[in-house]
């Protein structure tokens, strides 16, 4: 009976490993990667997953073996307090592995996030203060601003799109992230991109899409009751269709603006 108790602990590691093994087949896995650095993030994820699985199975295995082997054997336990070389080895080996894991992340992190290490064209656009787009997060929408004919963001001819972020494929894309009210987080699961939008700060984000298609844009930082609704789409398209879309949106907006201007004029004329 005593030995049976050790078996209570056995199903957990088995089922845990089994769940991870079957997850990709059921579609319960990392979203399809469609960015250049996404696969590097995934490789690091898989590396850690490998190390962790070995450590997990070994630890649980030893634990369950001890429980089974030494369960109520009615024999006096060993009278030992410690073992210096054992302590030394099981401190040094994990320490080495952990430091390795940490240092191994540096390059990928720098390339994705640290401004000084951004690709040259990205750095150039940022230094000229001419990002491809500005994303202004607000409760509970993504307001996306493309430069109009003047190539500048923040002028009257900007093209504004709500919740739909269009980007050209195979091009480094730079955006300036801001928030209008509370914290939000710009999360593109398929691109392995996440960056909080902070009111009072302007934060650069860059990525390069490698596949055409429409993917999720989530808000990943609690921003109020409508947080779950603050979803947008990222539409990756060929350079030509991206340019066409931008041109068309610009024209459309100009037409609407013209109408607005006319209305404004007639309104100001009425009282006179």
């Amino acid at each position: 009976m005593n030995k049976l108790w050790s078996l209570v602990f056995l199903p957990v590691p088995i089922l845990c490993v089994a769940l991870f093994a079957m997850a990709p087949g059921k579609g319960w896995w990392l979203p399809d990667n469609v960015s250049t650095f996404g696969s590097r993030v995934d490789d690091l994820f898989n590396l850690i997953l490998g190390i962790v699985t070995v450590a997990f199975v070994a630890t649980e295995g030893i634990l369950i073996y001890c429980l089974y082997r030494y369960a109520g054997r009615g024999q006096r336990a060993l009278f030992v307090h410690t073992n210096h070389s054992l302590e030394l080895w099981w401190t040094l080996i994990p320490a080495g592995i952990l430091v390795f894991i940490a240092l191994y992340q540096f390059k990928t992190w720098r390339d994705i996030k640290v401004q000084g290490k951004f690709p040259a064209d990205v750095a150039q656009k940022l230094s000229r203060d001419e990002p491809d787009v500005e994303v202004l997060a607000g409760q509970f929408e993504w307001r996306i601003r493309y430069p109009g004919k003047d190539g500048k963001i923040g002028t009257l001819d900007d093209v504004i799109s709500l919740n739909d972020l269009h980007v050209p494929v195979n091009t480094n894309f730079v955006l300036r992230l801001r928030s209008r009210d509370v914290l939000h987080s710009f999360f593109l699961p398929n691109f392995r991109v996440k960056q909080d939008a902070v009111p009072g700060m302007t934060i650069p984000v860059w990525f390069q899409g490698t596949k055409e298609g429409t993917f999720d844009l989530f808000c990943a930082e609690l921003c109020g009751w409508g947080h779950y609704k603050m979803r947008g789409r990222i539409i990756v398209q060929s350079k030509a269709s991206y340019d066409a879309w931008l041109e068309e949106s610009y024209e459309e907006q100009e037409r609407d603006m013209a109408a607005v201007k006319t209305v404004a004029q007639t309104k100001t004329e009425v009282p006179q």
């Binding site: 720098r110 699961p189 398929n190 009751w225």
Partner: protein
């Protein structure tokens, strides 16, 4: 009697209140006795655990059956609007679930209940160094309880900015319904909790430094005392920062200061005030406390588990000193890892690399502790009591919680899993299957000492097995959801890509409900044993530490005579005596054969 060797053994002395002349009120309500205060903390936190658990079940209902009427409860709570959970109510549910569980259950349960009850008994002191301060630390919890409960009833409802309460969502009144008066009450409530903890920690440090029994050197203290000692130091240094941050946010809300509100902020078309502050400042201040708080919630659990495992392995704790150094290492490193919660917050990304290295290193002492627990079990003579099963579950599940932490510590990987269900799974593996299993281990273990009666082992094991399975069904699939990119704190998942994950959400909810319902078994066992459990003698588990030399339950003043300590706390299976345990107080003459009995 099995305790013939104990000094001044008073056979059959059970009538714990008989000898002192204090009235009912000063004995049981406004008591300065550390044991009564510990039990008061225990009862209060168990009640709040029920509340926190119900809030969690409501969260799970919504996630498995989005926008469906809650059966029975729903119509009674929201009769005019039907029985479904509204999105704003959902944000309150998870905010209050976490706030209640962290600040009213896990911290006061480990530090307040177990800290108070065990420290003087385990170091051989008659009481705490400052008994009145101790009483005050408990009674400071009551304004906190009342303010937090009242906040559900104010206009706009309870706080809804998450337990992390990030401004501007929390500090600007127009940002969320819960950011009306609910958030102010939340802040005031936490200020009281903080002051209560601060008083407790000063008291613990003083007591442990000054009031150890003769012969109780630092390195003869049980791990429970060591862990509570280091936790108290951690709290004493970290809490002032949280207190300052809470006051700053309160001022932002009520006096119109702008510590955390940037210039020109307009929320829902209402100006948020003068501005000029920094939203990120709060995150730094908050995590400077709240990351150490994660260790405040796990270190005492590790201490309790070490004592329970050694006792029921009938074997000395393996690597006592490395265990102590690991706790100190976790506490020290705990102060320089806070920004790992902020890798994608907008903080300078270069800074993140330093915090990543420190965070990876903090996994090391945890690993060392796990190996030493395994070392303790190796060659042991294991007794599977309810307490022991819960302690082993802690070790087995803490491994998962610790290893999943490595994914988040790695900055590039954290980009993807940050603020997803992976984090939710991780924290619940540490705090639920970690701390809460240790709490149950501690309750089963010290119940005889607390109340002079023993809990029913059979029902204790039933409770354990169901809880162990249900906890894993609930929390393990969350990792998968997070890998899939499912963000946390969403009231519903309406993206086509997240559709396949719905089955897992239903499974998790079934686990969570089982977890809630099985606590009824524990509750009945606890209450029944309180009144009708079999009487316990002084040392029912044949353990070595000092609390087992006092009567069960110990009278006011604890010990019949001041105990004298001759050895460390874990001398099980010692060849010097025929029994397999050797209490710390037992004097052996010249190392020769001890008198048997």
């Amino acid at each position: 009697m099995s305790n013939a060797a104990l000094p001044g053994d008073l056979a059959g002395h059970h009538d714990h209140a008989a000898h002192d002349e204090r009235g009912f009120l000063t004995t049981y309500i406004f008591s300065t006795d550390h044991k009564v205060i510990g039990i008061q903390f225990l009862f209060s936190t168990l009640i709040f655990m029920v509340l926190g658990g119900l809030l969690a079940m409501a969260v799970r209902w919504q996630l498995a059956f989005p926008w469906r009427d809650m059966p029975w409860v729903g119509p009674r709570m929201f009769s005019p609007t039907g029985g479904q959970i509204s999105p704003e109510f959902y944000t309150m549910l998870f905010t209050m679930h976490a706030s209640v569980m962290i600040f009213f259950v896990v911290i006061p349960m480990l530090a307040g209940a177990f800290g108070n009850f065990t420290i003087p008994l385990m170091i051989g002191a008659p009481d705490m160094a400052f008994p009145k301060l101790n009483m005050m630390s408990y009674w400071f919890m009551w304004p906190a309880f009342i303010l937090m409960l009242c906040s559900f009833g104010v206009e706009g409802g309870a706080a809804a900015a998450g337990w992390t309460s990030y401004p501007p969502l929390s500090s600007v009144r127009s940002a969320a319904p819960g950011s009306l008066d609910g958030q102010t009450l939340w802040l005031l409530s936490l200020l009281f909790v903080g002051m209560s903890s601060l008083m407790g920690s000063i008291n613990y440090i003083t007591t442990i430094v000054n009031m150890r029994a003769p012969g109780m050197h630092f390195f003869r203290m049980p791990m429970t005392v060591w862990s509570l000692f280091i936790t108290a130091i951690l709290q004493a240094f970290a809490l002032p920062v949280l207190t300052a941050a809470l006051i700053m946010q309160t001022l932002d809300r009520v006096l119109g200061t702008s510590f955390f509100i940037p210039e020109g902020l307009v929320v829902q078309n209402i100006s948020a005030g003068a501005g000029g502050g920094r939203a990120l400042l709060w995150q730094h201040l908050f995590w400077f406390y709240s990351h150490p708080a994660v260790y405040i919630m796990i270190l005492p659990a590790m201490g309790i588990v070490s004592d329970v495992i050694a006792t029921f392995s009938r074997k000395p704790l393996f690597g006592y000193r490395p265990m102590v150094y690991s706790i100190a290492g976790i506490a020290g490193l705990g102060f320089i890892v806070w920004a790992h919660h902020m890798f994608v917050s907008g903080m300078d990304p270069t800074l993140a690399m330093g915090f990543m290295v420190a965070t990876m290193l903090i996994a090391l002492p945890s690993a060392v502790k796990t190996f030493n627990w395994l070392g303790t079990l190796w060659g042991a003579d294991i007794k599977f009591t309810a307490a022991m099963l819960n302690a082993i579950a802690f070790v087995s599940m803490f491994v998962i919680g610790g290893l999943s932490g490595l994914f988040m510590a790695a900055t590039p990987v954290d980009i993807h899993i940050h603020d997803t269900y992976f984090i939710v799974g991780h924290i619940h593996y540490v705090l639920f299957t970690g701390s809460i299993f240790a709490v149950f281990a501690g309750i089963y273990y010290w119940f005889p000492k607390m109340f002079g009666r023993t809990m029913n082992e059979f029902w204790g094991k039933v409770h354990f097995v169901v809880m162990f399975i249900a906890a894993n069904v609930t929390f393990f699939p969350m990792h998968i959801l997070g890998v899939g990119g499912m963000p946390r704190r969403y009231a519903a998942y309406e993206s086509a890509r997240l559709e396949p994950f719905h089955d897992l959400n239903v499974l998790i909810t079934m686990g969570a409900f089982t977890l809630g319902v099985v606590q009824i078994v524990f509750f009945l066992n606890f209450v029944y044993s309180l009144f009708f459990g079999p009487r316990a003698d002084r040392n029912p588990w044949h353990a070595n530490t000092l609390e087992w030399t006092a009567p069960s339950p110990p009278p006011h003043g604890n010990f019949d005579v001041t105990p004298v300590v001759y050895r460390g706390p874990y001398e099980f299976a010692s060849p010097e005596v025929p029994e397999d345990y050797l209490p710390q107080t037992r004097k052996l003459d010249g190392g020769g054969a001890a008198p048997g009995h």
